[in-house]
Symmetry: C2
Subunit: 333 residues, 2 copies
């Protein structure tokens, strides 16, 4: 078998020049380039991928695209990605897509042209699939299902179980009128959680009560006011995420409701704030750091052609803190 | 005066080929390249900078280096930088330096090699000055003084005034034992704020009471416990920033103190959380968004050789919310 050294010798250049010509990573004198190309053509030389990756000048950059840099859930993931990537010699480029499809496309384009080794995409945009499929850089999708043909991995947690856990916890805490602030049903995560809630409604023969509320603090304030009008006997609220739960608490406490005595609240995600706020928030924990690290591992293993043993489906768990309370004999079960 | 069109005509190529040769932005056939170089040499052609910047393929990338991607103060700034940059056709690359000098140097190096048009640096590292001075990319320093010779601008707010405002507000709210949780005195911002506090102590003939506490929620929890032991008669706490103020509130409320009736709290920064938390936090507002936008404007104006009218020193103001209360006749003044 012919080696890169043989090609170099036959073309009268150094092996690194052959590598530069093959990878287009640096300028090579035009005449030398032709000599190398001719030898490659004549000999039918094909470098094996391992040798190629040794010679290939990798930028060792991972691009991470976040929908919102001010959202603690995404930031928590980005932090974990950064730690994992750094430990393996990769640096991170973070791009903020501002929940805007055009910016997201722009960022994918920019990262490709910068020779990023791969992209980890956190997105709320359905329209992004085509862009991913056109993109020559490997892409890992984090926290969403996009189903692009060429995605390396899709890393998610069990939202259906999360929806069930949240609802069943409130039932066990004695709540009899549980209102679900369900997230945007265009998102598979929000749909799955709501399905989980509906299962618990069926199990305990409760009529489903819900209101649509996007994952935003501001919207949470407004929607909590609506809940109090629509369901004056509410005694348990499932917030779409922890930020929304913070706004539920604010509205309830301004109106003189006691939490958890009068109304119990459960959030979702377990962002660091859920523990920092007072009272500390009962929530469904997604393993934010584990998911971030797994996404970086999946991508880097792919880039480095290592086999990856990662499980891409993560479990969720209930974290009980101060906004819910188990009442003796209060459970319907 | 000879123009780029003349050079192109004389070399028998298009003006964009001349531009590509001059800027090295794309591959040009070697023979054409030589012809262009010969004409440039013969005619002594020198493009003026405006024309050059029109032809020059700018990456239109601004690099932003943050010490901690999970800190809402830095994220708020990054968001504003992104908005301003995007409106002017630049994209952002965010790098997380993790408060680590080596990572910060690495990031500056990476952004330079990527042909970023400029860098906006948020740093807590004194040792970074040399790296900035070696860096060929223009740098704007945000929120800190670094005094690198080649920095384009240094954008800061008036921390001395902020320190005075916080202390005087608590005096006016009737506090008689005000404890200052001063930030790391290696940082000029923290020193300036503490000096402002000392001025108010002199003005009202109060003995200064303080404890060192870095800008971290975790440390805030521990240091609040210490304050309660060291100063059991404390009735006002100046937290180093809003995150620390959240931890002060948590410890006080767990121990049964009422806020603001027993102890009043003032934060610093006015991050969005200060308004989201319950009770809403009295704080000293830095104009986070304005500062972020100004840093992007200063950098882009410099890159595009426009004159910049920005003022780089920002005012701060008191935002009174629920953790302090003006008592009738309670002021010493």
């Amino acid at each position: 078998m012919i080696s890169i050294r043989d090609v170099a010798k036959m073309a009268g250049v150094s092996p690194s020049t052959v590598s530069r010509v093959m990878n287009g990573t640096a300028k090579v004198n035009e005449e030398k380039r032709q000599r190398v190309l001719n030898v490659i053509k004549e000999t039918g030389f094909k470098p094996n991928e391992t040798a190629r990756s040794l010679y290939k000048k990798s930028a060792r950059i991972i691009g991470v695209i976040l929908p919102n840099i001010q959202n603690p859930f995404f930031n928590g993931m980005a932090q974990a990605i950064e730690e994992e990537a750094y430990s393996r010699g990769y640096r991170l480029m973070l791009c903020n897509s501002d929940n805007n499809l055009e910016k997201e496309k722009n960022n994918i384009d920019l990262l490709s042209r910068m020779n990023a080794d791969g992209i980890i995409l956190l997105t709320n945009q359905d329209g992004i699939r085509e862009t991913i499929e056109k993109c020559k850089v490997p892409v890992v999708i984090l926290d969403r299902e996009v189903k692009a043909d060429n995605q390396v991995a899709c890393i998610r947690s069990d939202h259906y179980k999360g929806g069930r856990l949240a609802a069943e916890h409130l039932v066990r805490c004695g709540c009899r009128k549980i209102v679900n602030m369900r997230g945007d049903q265009a998102l598979s995560s929000a749909r799955d959680r709501f399905e989980g809630y509906l299962e618990i409604c069926r199990k305990y023969e409760m009529a489903p009560c819900y209101i649509d509320c996007r994952y935003s603090f501001r919207e949470g304030l407004k929607k909590t006011e609506e809940i109090l009008k629509l369901y004056p006997d509410v005694d348990g609220i499932i917030a779409g995420n922890d930020m929304v739960a913070m706004s539920v608490y604010k509205v309830l406490s301004k109106k003189g409701y006691r939490v958890p005595e009068d109304v119990q609240i459960i959030g979702y995600d377990n962002i660091s704030l859920s523990e920092l706020m007072t009272p500390e928030l009962t929530t469904i924990a997604q393993p934010i750091s584990d998911m971030g690290r797994a996404s970086a591992r999946a991508l880097i293993d792919y880039v480095e052609q290592k086999s990856n043993e990662d499980n891409y489906h993560f479990d969720v768990e209930l974290i009980q803190r101060d906004t819910t309370i188990m009442k003796e004999g209060g459970s319907r079960k």
